[in-house]
């Protein structure tokens, strides 16, 4: 009887070990963090980063922001930073089926001054983090129909990510106008 029990225990132990070694290692998340939010804010403001402000996304601002984004924005408010007319925004937007996190700094003239891909969560399409690509956005403003004032050349194989970045850039410009109390040009 003791032998059978010992054999059963051995079988159970062997099964645990087999299951342990059979599990595939490796992460389920295809994620790259290119820049921490603190580093992005330092790029916008240098050493004197202002404290966080909160913007409820309601009414006309919401309508315009969603028009720029091309779909409903799921959050009810946005965190932003504002100092001497320069605003900074960190916004999540779906590229393919996962959200990417984008940081955008806008100068007092209403032009994009800093644009950074902070986190990318897809296996493909992360080329939009390349500086040469992002440089195209610098100096762009908002047009009357909530679009970017200049063209952005796409990247083959990263179409959805480029589209998402364009939409978020336009949305950030709308939000900047809203906190500055500006009207549509």
């Amino acid at each position: 009887m003791r032998g059978i029990r010992r054999w059963a225990t051995m079988c159970r132990l062997s099964m645990w070990i087999l299951m342990l070694i059979a599990f595939p290692a490796g992460a389920a998340y295809d994620e790259t963090e290119y820049l921490k939010s603190e580093a992005f804010l330092a790029k916008v403001y240098g050493e004197n980063v202002p404290s966080i402000s909160l913007m409820p996304l309601r009414g006309d601002t919401r309508k315009r922001a969603e028009a720029a984004l091309g779909h409903r924005y799921s959050g009810l408010r946005l965190r932003y930073w504002l100092q001497n007319g320069t605003s900074a925004w960190i916004i999540d937007e779906k590229s393919k089926d996962m959200p990417m996190t984008i940081g955008i700094g806008i100068n007092p003239e209403g032009e994009i001054a800093v644009i950074e891909l902070l986190v990318y969560r897809e296996p493909r399409g992360g080329e939009i983090h390349q500086a040469a690509f992002r440089k195209q956005y610098l100096g762009l403003r908002l047009t009357g129909n909530n679009a970017l004032s200049g063209p952005v050349d796409g990247i083959t194989g990263a179409t959805l990510s480029v589209d998402a970045l364009n939409r978020v850039a336009a949305m950030a410009l709308v939000l900047h106008q809203s906190v500055q109390g500006e009207t549509i040009p």
């Binding site: 342990l20 070694i21 595939p24 490796g26 939010s37 408010r77």
Partner: protein, 549 residues
């Protein structure tokens, strides 16, 4: 010096090696969570304990917010019961909170006690690790992870976070310290979307209403598998078609959102909950799928499967299990994510493949191909369950098949396109096994070889075993096309594997007969966290802290 014998040292080295291998996948990998500010439909549930004014209040609760309206429900002693008192409010009108008492004085006392020390509107932010106002002092412990918030006379400490659907991490253990008052929240689980609307954000109600449900009628099997061996006419599923099916399920068919599509009394949970039939049949289902040239082309040209075949298998089963065992919001989140992934998969066949001409267009969101993918799952589950557990009656198979129709609808397949009952479904499967629609292309052969290729030395034996099992269970024509052998050597090995599996099944404790995700779903139904060995299995295999809790 020789304190340890040679045998003991070998054993120790072996244990350390195993531990190293195991530790690489013991816990969910770390990731940068999405900001909880982006949540507009969400809920958390758990237990609260409040001490203030010399009184102590304890209760289970849930907090739910739909857009700007929130409700904090006091549940009493039962973690999943109906609310006994509810604090209602709007985040833009924090002074106008109201209390609705439904079931008793005790619950009313807890709610009033809570209302006397804080606004539930502020709690709607704190409970997600967010400041309620811009005046708060925040200390972070990582991106989108608060460590401490000081606001409205409270010092709020966030001790633990839980990973939840949608790449969020929400606080799981929160302590509020104030002057002569403190509150502790122990959060068990959360939903992060799809509470009121099962679809994504791109469609208006008018667009969905304008899409037309295809009419039924005709010979469904012959529509899917034409007698002359030709390819079926493609039927694409657009976003409105997809959303229409989701709404049918969400709005009409299932009353209990916590239970999800099926529940513990369903045939689906009974059959797919058993660990051994599912693991023995996985290779069969995957190879039957990729015998369809459209499926193969979609995987071969658009997926990272060539570099990471096990990762693809893991993601596939993640979504299958989420839909099977998840709560209704988790089901809808998974269905929408799969659709988003499929939406980008389209192209033209690079070569003539059986019934399909070279250059013919394929898309992942196509009715015929999706029905085939579904069929491989359900036919394989029944086949393996009957082989390894017990035979099923005709009535049980019909009931199971009716349940699978809900699963198909979640991917946009209209019910009228599906075989009517189990017998017609099996007629469809047999017709497909004999049809040139199933043709193993060179790309399918590569996928098969990749699938069974051991990624590490630890995987050599499991992969060898899986290949023999798959070879034994595939329909002979498909097995031959994959050039898989099933001679005396394979039959002998399969014999001892089945005997070994049967022995293990007999020796296993009863609660280990069923797979970990089944236990996770049962914990959700009881309002509890999973924990224990099943939690370990989920994190080790899926690299996720939770799938359906």
């Amino acid at each position: 010096m020789n304190v340890l014998s040679r045998n003991a040292r070998v054993l120790l080295a072996g244990v350390m090696l195993l531990a190293l291998q195991g530790c690489s996948s013991l816990k969910e990998s770390d990731y940068v969570p999405k900001s909880p500010e982006t949540l507009s439909e969400w809920m958390v549930e758990g237990a609260l304990e409040l001490r203030a004014d010399g009184i102590k209040s304890k209760s289970h609760f849930y907090f739910k917010q739909i857009d700007e309206n929130y409700e904090l429900a006091i549940l009493g002693d039962n973690p999943v019961g109906k609310p006994k008192a509810v604090i209602l409010g709007n985040i833009y009108e924090p002074e106008n909170e109201s209390l609705d008492v439904i079931g008793g004085y005790e619950a009313e006392k807890v709610a009033q006690h809570l209302m006397s020390v804080m606004k539930a509107g502020s709690l709607s932010y704190w409970i997600r690790g967010l400041p309620a106002t811009a005046d708060a002092k925040i200390t972070q412990q990582g991106t989108n992870l608060a460590k401490k918030i000081e606001e409205e006379g409270w010092k709020i400490y966030f001790h633990d976070f839980m990973s939840v659907t949608g790449n969020y991490k929400l606080p799981a253990d929160i302590k509020f310290n104030g002057e002569n008052k403190n509150l502790r929240l122990d959060i068990v689980r959360a939903e992060t979307g799809y509470l009121t609307n099962p679809c994504g954000q791109n469609l208006t109600d008018e667009e969905i209403a304008a899409s037309v449900e295809p009419s039924g009628g005709g010979d469904v099997v012959r529509t899917l598998v034409p007698r002359d061996g030709s390819a079926p006419l493609p039927r694409w599923i657009d976003e409105a078609d997809f959303c229409r099916q989701l709404r049918k399920i969400h709005d009409n068919q299932l009353p209990d959102s916590r239970v999800g599509l099926y529940g513990p009394d369903s045939m689906m949970w009974r059959l797919s909950g058993m660990a051994l039939p599912g693991s023995f049949g996985a290779g069969r289902a995957l190879l039957l799928q990729v015998a369809h040239p459209w499926v193969t082309a979609g995987i071969d040209e658009h997926s990272v499967v060539r570099n990471d075949p096990l990762g693809r298998a893991r993601r596939t089963f993640y979504h299958i299990l989420s839909v099977t065992y998840g709560s209704m919001p988790q089901v809808m989140a998974s269905a929408n994510q799969v659709r988003d992934i499929h939406e980008e998969i389209e192209g033209n066949l690079p070569e003539e493949s059986g019934a399909f001409a070279r250059g013919s267009e394929y898309r992942a969101n196509e009715v015929n191909a999706m029905i085939w993918v579904h069929a491989t799952l359900w036919e394989t589950i029944v086949h393996m369950y009957e082989e390894m557990e017990e035979p099923l009656t005709q009535q049980e198979k019909d009931r199971f098949y009716e349940e699978t129709k809900l699963f198909a609808m979640l991917f946009g397949i209209p019910e009228s396109a599906l075989p009517a009952d189990w017998n017609e479904f099996m007629e469809y499967n047999r017709a497909m096994w004999a049809s040139p629609q199933l043709t193993v292309t060179p790309a399918a052969m590569r996928l098969k070889n990749d699938l069974f290729k051991a990624q590490s030395i630890w995987m050599v034996v499991p992969m060898w075993g899986q290949e023999i099992i798959t070879s034994a269970e595939l329909p002979p024509r498909i097995r031959d096309q994959y050039e898989m052998k099933y001679g005396w050597w394979q039959k002998m090995n399969y014999g001892w594997m089945r005997a070994g599996a049967w022995t293990l099944g007999a020796l296993l404790p009863k609660n280990m007969e069923r797979q970990a995700v089944y236990h996770e779903a049962m914990a959700r139904l009881e309002g509890e966290r999973l924990g224990g060995i099943n939690q370990f299995f989920i994190e080790a295999f899926f690299d996720k802290e939770r799938l359906v809790n």
